[in-house]
Amino acid sequence: MKALIIGCGRVGSTVAKRLAADGWNVTAIDEKEAALSRLGEDWTGGFVVGHGMDTEVLRQAGIEEADAVVVATDGDNTNIVIGQVAQKRFGIDCTVVRILDPARADFYAQRGLRTVCPTSTAIDVLTDAVRSCEIPRDRQEVAT
């Protein structure tokens, strides 16, 4: 199984390492060569320096043989475009795209892109965390 990780920042690099630990053959792509260091000294997977919008870079990283693509650069619109290229041009069904803006994440999810929105997740988790706090009884009436 081969996975391509586009954008090797905090999120991308950790996903890359986890999938590699699960036995995937992983290649990461990042614009900056320095991002390679995020993968650790014992990284045995692939690493390509280049922009994910560049089809040549995607080919170099082996997108034609990939079973999964994770798009997690720091630009929502960049991720949206690369995700659609992976899905539509290269036919990779398991394309997962990080989109920070909930509105765009929803719209592209409706159009068949597998989107992950950390902002929505954070909103849910934070709200639930507050709801689960025990507030002393005498403070509960303050809002009412």
Binding site: D76, T78, V85, K88, D101, A103, R104
Partner: protein, 220 residues
Amino acid sequence: MYVLIAGGGKAGANVMRTLLRNGHEATIIEQERDRFERLEQEFEHQAMLGDATEIYVLEKAGIRRPPDLVLALTGDDEDNLVICQLAKEKFGVEKVIARVNDPRNQVHFDLLGVSPTVCATSSILGLVEHEVPEHDLVHLLELRKENLEIVEVQIDKGSPCAGKKVEKLALPEGARLISIMRDGRAEIAVGATELHPGDQVLAILEPGKEDELRRVLLKR
């Protein structure tokens, strides 16, 4: 006509000015504050500060009316693509025009069905091609929707087609000659038209058939 312009650089601002002068209604969205302030001085309430790839910004600019035309003219190809997809597919805007900044991204616009597009760099390259004599086949026009293109070919003395009639040429399937320019005069190419050295021939063909056409007309 109501036009929404995303991107307030030179292209956006000039288009905006012309549209208003011609009596159209338009809004221009710019996300950089400095640029926005200059636009606001000139266009007042018709300039808006914001990221045009954000849905609520587009809504504030009146995308739900919807506009007759959306122009995506920012300096970011990703942004222009997303703006056009949102306009067409979420808000039912019928006509969009997108600017392509990096010609290598043209394939993404084509893949995602965003057209028409305008790319200054490609246009300049096309003109350069036209000026350089060693380019024997010049791309004049691409008809993306139709998947056809129009090219110009210069016939010279060594061309295998020189002295032959058009009907005798084994043109590739999906290619036709349109016209012949000779001594400053153009005539429509018909079966009986004879080709001569020095002729400039216009041909219409499917993209990718250039080499076959070259072989027939130029033997290269």
